[in-house]
Amino acid sequence: MKELTGNAELIFGQVPDTDQLKKELISSFPQLEKLPFLIAVDKELIQTNTPITDGQELALLPPYSGG
């Protein structure tokens, strides 16, 4: 993802929820649409659209490949 976006950290303005975040990410980086990724909010994976509040840590996680 860092290779696609050119950055390990991305800064966005106010984004109300994770669905909106996904939309903004894909509009800024259209290649992300084809890349499967999960979103974690404060180190917890989210399954459905989740509101984002100030100061939360968001992470985009491509498929894991540990071990």
Partner: protein, 148 residues
């Protein structure tokens, strides 16, 4: 029993001597009747005309440790393990070196073996860890885990 969140990450490869020390440390725990050990080793896969020279591991460490803690808290009571130890490398690990070490102990073999197997599968599928496969010509590709 609640356990504290333990670090599982080691910078660089997991040395065989480290594994031997861990085995030796269990000689005083005489309720144990069986140990099971899994070690993951970096494989020099061949892709067309180039070979994997190393895998560079990165992780979202805080989240991975939190997830590992949850796994530990469910697997220990499920299999009645006497103890379990998990280590995963970060950074560049050359082909042939050990990058992942799971060690479970229980009074009887089946619990140790089944517990070890569940931990290996869950670490590979649930922990935010990524392997970048580095080829001998300095190109790379992202590792994709096999189902088994």
């Amino acid at each position: 029993m609640k356990h504290q969140v333990k670090n599982i990450f080691i910078d660089g490869p997991i040395e065989p001597a480290f594994i031997a020390e861990k085995i030796a440390a269990h000689q005083t725990k005489t309720a144990i009747g069986g140990h099971s050990i899994f070690m993951g080793q970096v494989r020099a896969d061949l892709m067309e005309d180039k070979r994997i020279a190393a895998i560079e591991y990165t992780a979202y460490t805080d989240m991975a440790l939190q997830m590992m803690h949850g796994i530990r808290e469910t697997v220990i009571p499920k299999y009645q393990l006497t103890c379990m130890h998990v280590y995963h490398s970060l950074g560049k690990i050359a082909a042939g070196q050990i990058c992942f070490f799971v060690f479970t102990s229980a009074p009887h073999r089946k619990a140790a073996i089944d517990g070890c197997s569940e931990i290996v599968e869950r670490v590979k599928s649930e922990l935010p860890i990524w392997g970048k496969e580095l080829f001998d010509d300095e190109s790379f590709q992202w590792k994709v885990n096999q189902p088994l």
